[in-house]
Symmetry: C2
Subunit: 217 residues, 2 copies
């Protein structure tokens, strides 16, 4: 499969790109916003495509030629204002979803956030971000795409353990970014896990086993 | 019909409430956020119900007992931050839509904004607001409600003329708030104008004629 990673320069995005590149099972394409990021990826032998999530749906769609699956791990980050929360985390995601539908992309894997689907659990300072993620996920669920939404717990920079818990109503726990990236990469090999939205936290089941259980659900 | 006006203390909301109260054809209920606003409306003989759009869907739903139609004209206004744009203009609207569905409300009239359905027309400073309105409208269109979305042009405080233009791709022009309020009130009498989203600007057709044309569409 040709896989486009949107937000390839982000922390999880970078790991997904690297793991796909190492795995050699799929062809990875990195979608990034800046020319210098394109050069960065190219120097590592990775094809990068340029588009801005604040740009048009058409411009985003142009990066999806020959793409079979999109991984969306972009985000405005914690240092920008709430205007960017709306324009990147929500509108940017929704435009990517629209572009994927127009481009005939089969699969869409979304990196969401744990508890974004439960308003009563949104902490005061995270509310705008959670709402943006919630509505982006809603747009994906209401699209015609073959989607898979992962709602990871609190993201940590510890090395991955390879063990996770996947479920629809898990506790709110942490997970290393590396395990999120590994789960996304493995999930590409389970095309029958379709139109599902699940929590993803650290656990005691291997990623492969957890995905198999989800597939048998 | 029993009509609940959400955002009854806003500029358009107040006019809708007054016109409904004067018209006597429907029973108006004002949804407001503050106790003193409840008292204000009560002193004018208008039943007011207390709920905060930043509160729970259940709390909003509690204001919808015996309600046949909801008019949503609430907004965070220009003096608050973009966090409130997400939490009121989008999430508050979406919660009201969910509450209306749960409460079995038949009709939902939304006050949106002209060009909110065309990203390429969003001006730089209005982008977050436009996006919030766009996704709120999307949630309504994807709901099971019998909805009518008005996208008024630039709102003016001039007295209404009683003449408007209603269409799906009008020019971006102004309209007095009073004409928006009058159109909403009149639209309640056209229950067959259902599941439509239209622009609303000043024009040369009477409100009644414009609504009749829309009904015959």
């Amino acid at each position: 499969m040709n896989v486009l990673v949107v937000g390839a320069n982000g922390q999880i995005g970078k790991m997904v790109v690297e793991k796909l590149q190492e795995g050699k099972q799929h062809n990875v394409r990195a979608m990034v916003r800046k020319e210098e990021q394109v050069a960065d990826f190219k120097s590592k032998g990775i094809e990068a495509r340029l588009a801005d999530l604040e740009g048009s749906v058409d411009a985003i769609q142009a990066t999806m030629k020959d793409i079979d699956a999109v991984v969306f791990s972009a985000g405005s980050g914690g240092s920008t204002g709430y205007d960017k929360t709306i324009l990147i985390d929500l509108d940017g995601a929704a435009k990517t979803i629209e572009a994927a539908e127009k481009a005939g992309v089969k699969r869409f894997i979304m990196v969401s956030s744990i508890a974004s689907n439960h308003r009563e659990k949104w902490s005061e300072d995270m509310k705008p971000y959670m709402a943006a993620k919630f509505y982006a996920d809603q747009m994906l669920e209401k699209s015609g795409l073959d989607y898979l939404i992962f709602r990871p717990g609190m993201l940590e920079n510890k090395p991955g353990t390879g063990n996770v818990k996947i479920g629809t109503e898990t506790a709110i726990r942490a997970i290393p970014r590396e395990d999120v990236a590994s789960t996304i990469v493995s999930a590409l090999d389970y095309p029958t896990i379709s139109r599902q939205a699940v929590d993803l936290i650290s656990g005691d089941t291997s990623i492969e086993e957890a995905l198999k259980k989800l597939w048998l659900n």
